[in-house]
């Protein structure tokens, strides 16, 4: 659609980028039908096409209002619409730009500002881990509403030493190591068996997504620069092949570093390189030739796949319902990889309806829009549990904790399940 940029945005990077994206949209509305918030709320302005019109109108110089902001806030940024759109409209980029411009015009009420700040800073802070530990220790004393967000303490197991010549960097992430520390160590153990050592970069931290998506875009860019600085020596020295992501929410962000820092002369080239080297764990594992054999061998010892979930008696294969995170299937356009690994390992994947829909976690969304997030969670769990799975698997920390808070069925990262299988079989 045609957009007449207002003078304030003409010639600006954001304005021109948004205009180029809007130009591709033919307002066919295919995206609207698949948007989870449109499905729940039924208002054109709570669907992608409506939001696109809202952003267009602000770019054309109409003042944004609290209502404009509300409709943009309600968007999950799940980017389901982007997958649906046949015209290649990059909605995710557009809504980032739209939010930045709208937030500059419309000040949020104090309470909202504080929550956002607390989320961005709190989850990012080195104090988050100790706070989480406290929450876990005092789980019984925490009110139910918050309890849901504090997962049970996990057995972590040992991380292998970096014994292999082949090395990859691992983004430890900010919340994941505090909430479900076993994911990263499980990933390290699985890759270790495939002949690759995962090495951390102690100075790296949050990928920047929290800040970037909570209106602190500059602080987000600083997080990105810090990570690049932390990784660069090893990248430059050619010591690492890739940067592994165990949370798809972080993965999608790091894959965008190149785009987001393209105009920072000091970082543009490095950021591009970092994005190119960034891979989701499922991509990395599936690319390893040794994987099928390893899985097949483990699977042969059927006992292994039953013992850790059931009552110990050898029985049928474990049933898994897999939820592909939006940041993986829509954000990174990676589909079917974790599923294939699980299937190759002999697990039975149950049929899950509407697997393209968001679970409602969406980063900090579930805290900011608990009602919509809760409804989406209920729907998602209903379709996940329809096939009576023993375990629910996913690939992103946000989805895992969000889903677990609504069900008694164990919710795990797929690599934890693979790790258990391989460890049992060893």
């Amino acid at each position: 659609m045609q957009t007449e940029l207002a003078p304030a945005y003409k010639g600006t990077r954001d304005g021109e980028e948004a205009e180029a994206i809007l130009r591709k949209c033919v307002h066919c509305g295919f995206c609207t039908a698949t948007c989870p918030t449109y499905q729940l709320l039924g208002d054109e302005l709570d669907g992608p096409r409506g939001r696109i019109y809202l952003i267009k109108q602000v770019l054309e110089g109409r003042a944004a209002t609290a209502k404009t902001q509300l409709h943009l806030d309600r968007c999950l940024t799940c980017r389901n619409c982007e997958t649906t759109c046949p015209s290649g409209v990059q909605y995710g980029r557009l809504v980032d730009i739209g939010r930045k411009i709208v937030d500059a015009q419309v000040e949020r009420p104090l309470a909202g500002r504080l929550t956002r700040m607390a989320l961005a800073k709190g989850l990012n802070s080195p104090l988050f881990a100790p706070a989480m530990a406290l929450g876990q220790a005092l789980r019984w004393a925490v009110p139910a509403s918050l309890q849901a967000k504090v997962p049970q303490k996990q057995e972590v197991g040992v991380r292998p030493t970096a014994r292999h010549a082949r090395k990859m960097l691992l983004l430890e992430g900010c919340v994941q190591n505090a909430m479900m520390p076993n994911i990263n160590s499980a990933a390290a153990r699985v890759l270790d068996k495939l002949g690759v050592s995962l090495v951390p970069a102690p100075k790296a931290g949050c990928c920047g997504a929290l800040n970037y998506h909570l209106d602190f875009q500059e602080a987000g860019l600083d997080n990105m620069r810090r990570n690049i600085d932390a990784w660069w020596p090893m990248i430059e020295a050619g010591e690492v092949e890739a940067i592994a992501m165990t949370a798809s929410g972080c993965g999608v962000m790091v894959k965008e570093y190149g785009h987001l820092l393209a105009y920072d002369p000091a970082y543009a080239v490095k950021a591009q390189r970092v994005s190119e080297m960034t891979k989701d764990l499922s991509e990395l594992a599936l690319a390893e030739e040794a994987l099928p054999e390893l899985l097949a061998a483990a699977n042969d010892r059927k006992v292994a796949s039953t013992k850790s979930f059931g009552d110990g008696a050898a029985k049928e294969a474990v049933r898994i319902a897999y939820h592909p995170p939006c940041t993986l299937q829509h954000g990174q356009q990676l589909r079917g990889k974790a599923e294939q690994i699980l299937q190759d390992a002999g697990f039975v994947l149950t049929a899950v309806a509407d697997s393209h829909l968001c679970c409602g976690s969406a980063g900090a969304y579930s805290v900011l829009n608990p009602e919509i997030a809760g409804q989406l969670k209920e729907r998602k769990l209903a379709s996940l549990e329809a096939g009576k799975p023993d375990v629910i698997c996913s690939a992103n920390i946000g989805c895992l904790t969000h889903l677990q808070s609504g069900t008694g069925t164990p919710v795990k990262h797929w690599v934890e399940v693979i790790d258990e299988l391989l460890s049992e079989a060893a």
């Binding site: 591709k24 302005l45 267009k56």
Partner: protein, 469 residues
């Protein structure tokens, strides 16, 4: 010239009291003045500039529609029925200002009479929603314009689709209507019977009336049994005329082809890019055959023999349901695909229809015209009906470009009318084709004006469309 200029001088003043009355009627939530909502309702698929309604309302029942129309009648303020806004000739533009009456919340299938092969739906039900609803009855509704349009909107534009060659257009498939007139009266036209000789055929008067005579709130449509066997095929031809000749001869021989759509190489290129398909970039016809196993085979063999005679390549078959639906979805999205040939462009979509015997001739002359113009003009169409479209891609900011495009459309319409054809086979007049009404109908347009005046004396129903008063 009959065509109005969408000018701000045409706009009627929005009566402040009307806004309050509408809110009292529907509540604040179903009356919107949000700019983004008005813009969405003041923008269609034509190349005309946007013309925003003053307010958009979302009624849910026929009675609420009556309330809205009566309120507007009291203030003599325009009402513009709005289905899904996919029409191509500026139909829904609020060139006089007005209340956009969005029927999307009237989306219930009211009754399915499987034994009588019909269904009664609210006007906002879309063609895909209806088919999803009746999926398990073994019946289907065959009319499929490329967009997922509303049944009310399709009735109002007398739409057709890829299967009209076999199943007809909305004209043949609407049995009865519930309509709210400009004065707020409700009339039910027609019965659920296959036929009726009782007086004037009011159903046919409202079908194709483009919202200028009343608001359609319920539609009774015909349904058809799913055929026992279906198969679709793609066939490439050495040129457009060979493709047309194949289709003409097949129709003349009485082969009951279910669908046959032509797509030219440029359009195929756009489709491949848009729908990630891998069709050959050649003049192509998409065929579909319905019937019993043996009759499908027989039909296909006959058409294949005719095609071979015209120098066509072998048929590429799509027999699995998912392959077939992918093929037709790609065809349905062709218009959107063409828009992406030049992002930011708009399309002047021509829509002439000629008697089938003149089709090849009309296509051939048109092809010469396109070549001489040196422009990007994909050609596609339901050629089994003698109907085809040029997608004249234009830059909406360049008046010269628009003019050249419109001149090409003019030449095409003159050509078609000289061949006893019509300026529009299925898209309708809107404000885009008003100028052709006199040549096509002569004094007939006056008769239409008399009807309009007597039914809508204050000209509040979608004013400025079809013909100037």
């Amino acid at each position: 010239m009959n065509q109005p200029i969408a000018s701000k001088f045409l706009r009627r003043q929005f009566p402040a009291a009307l806004q309050d009355e509408l809110q009292a009627l529907l509540g604040v939530g179903r009356v919107s003045t949000a700019h983004a909502v008005r813009e969405h309702h003041g923008h269609d698929e034509s190349h005309f500039p946007d013309a925003l309604p003053d307010v958009v309302v979302f009624p849910e029942t026929t009675e609420e529609v009556v309330g809205v129309v009566k309120a507007c009648a009291k203030h003599k303020f325009p009402v513009i029925p709005y289905g899904t806004g996919t029409s191509l000739e500026g139909h829904i533009l609020a060139i006089h200002g007005g209340v956009s009456l969005d029927l999307s919340r009237m989306n219930h299938v009211l009754d399915v009479h499987a034994e009588d092969l019909d269904a009664v739906v609210q006007a906002g039900v879309t063609r895909k929603a209806l088919n999803a609803h009746i999926k398990d009855t073994g019946l289907f509704f065959p009319i499929d314009p490329g967009a997922d349009a509303s049944i009310g909107g399709m009735s109002a534009t007398r739409a057709s689709g890829t299967a009209a060659v076999r199943y007809g257009t909305m004209k043949e498939n609407v049995l009865a209507l519930t309509v709210v007139l400009a004065d707020g009266r409700i009339v039910k036209t027609g019965r659920r019977t296959k036929k009726s000789s009782a007086g004037y055929d009011l159903t046919r008067l409202f079908v194709g009336s483009e919202g200028t005579l009343g608001v359609i709130t319920e539609v009774t449509v015909k349904l058809y049994p799913q055929p026992e066997a279906m198969s679709a095929a793609v066939c490439c031809f050495p040129n457009m005329v060979a493709a047309a000749n194949t289709v003409i001869q097949s129709i003349q021989m009485g082969v009951p082809v279910a669908r046959c759509d032509f797509v030219d190489p440029l359009c195929i290129k756009a489709i491949n890019h848009h729908s990630k398909t891998t069709f050959q970039e050649k003049p192509t016809v998409f065929f579909e055959f319905h019937g019993s196993e043996s009759s499908v085979k027989e039909q296909a063999e006959t058409v294949q023999a005719i095609a071979a005679d015209q120098g066509a390549e072998e048929f590429q078959w799509a027999t699995k349901p998912e392959e077939r639906s992918k093929l037709w979805q790609a065809r349905h999205d062709a218009y959107l695909a063409c828009l992406q040939l030049q992002p930011g462009s708009r399309i002047i979509s021509t829509d002439v229809c000629v008697p089938i015997s003149r089709l090849a001739e009309c296509l051939e002359e048109t092809e010469k015209d396109i070549t001489a113009s040196g422009r990007l003009v994909p050609v596609l169409g339901h050629i089994g009906d003698g109907n085809f479209h040029l997608c004249i891609i234009i830059d909406p900011n360049n008046p010269d470009d628009i003019l050249v495009g419109e001149q090409m459309n003019h030449r095409l319409v003159e050509r078609a009318i000289a061949m006893e054809g019509t300026c529009t086979g299925e898209h309708g007049i809107g404000c885009g084709k008003m100028e052709f009404m006199d040549v096509e109908h002569g004094d007939g347009v006056d008769v239409m004006r008399m009807i309009k005046r007597s039914m809508d004396p204050d000209n509040i129903m979608n004013p400025g469309k079809i013909f100037a008063m």
